[in-house]
Amino acid sequence: MQLEIRERKIGQIVILDLTGKITIGDGSNKLRDEVNRLLEIGEREIILNFEGTSYLDSSGIGELISRHTTTKNQGGHLKLLKLPKKIRDLLTVTKLLGVFETFENEQDAVLSFGVLGVVPQQNG
């Protein structure tokens, strides 16, 4: 399945829900273009949600590193949410897990940005 990207916003934080494959060619290019577009319009706090991502290859890993570096160089943050085990394993093998901030829970990821985001309302 080709990569599909859905954009959501919570306060100043943009969440990209990634569904499908991030592989050499179309998938990697689409991710690069989308993050670059966000940076161009001034977004700096970005979460990539991998819950629906079925496959990542070394090209996809390379794209993550490039977007992480580009975002950081522009004063922003790129964080990873809900990494499937097989993708987490790829980052572990290449000693990259420590390079990224990763979260299992969306609220934790949003809160990690501090005052820049809007704290989700607690019920009850």
């Binding site: 070394s58 590193i65 093998v93 290449t94 390079v99």
Partner: protein, 158 residues
């Protein structure tokens, strides 16, 4: 009696759109070999990386140069060979992607994944030109049959 090797050979043009033809075959052989879902992903990835390297770095997207894949399945192992028709390279000269200096390089991890996920990986210059990567994965041991129910008398209460 030892069974003959089951072989499939596929040739594709140097196009990223055609990689899936080879990785789908890899999936089929991995299933035939008895690997679980996790190993299926790893074998698929190792094959994808080798074909992508052949297209990108070997044949440099030259549509007139092919990538040749050979799958071989025996009772004991699955082997996959991928050959390109590029200039070739010395694998010893490749930068180590785990070196802290290279950690943030966007490229250079494909061979590391192949070596991590397959049991044996050999990169050689093909005698007729280009590089050939041969990867071997030992098949899992067949699961033991359930123990036969006890038929002898005896046991508790005696």
């Amino acid at each position: 009696m030892m069974q003959a090797e089951k072989v499939v050979e596929i040739t594709i043009a140097s196009s990223l759109e055609l990689i899936d033809i080879i990785t789908l075959t890899a999936d089929h052989f991995a299933k035939l070999s008895g690997f679980d879902e996790e190993e299926l992903y790893r074998i698929n990835l190792a094959v994808r990386e080798s074909v992508a390297n052949a297209i990108e770095h070997g044949n440099k997207y030259n549509a007139e140069k092919n990538v040749e894949a050979r799958f071989g399945l025996t009772e004991l192992r699955l082997s996959v060979s991928i050959r390109d028709h590029g200039a070739g390279f010395d694998p010893e000269t490749l930068p180590d992607p785990l070196d802290p200096e290279n950690l943030l390089n966007p490229a250079g991890r494909g061979i590391l994944y192949m070596r991590s996920f397959m049991d044996q990986v050999d990169l050689v210059r093909h005698p007729e030109g280009g590089m050939q990567i041969t990867m071997v994965k030992n098949r899992p041991a067949p699961s033991s049959p359930p123990p036969a129910p006890e038929t002898s008398s005896g046991g508790e209460g005696k």
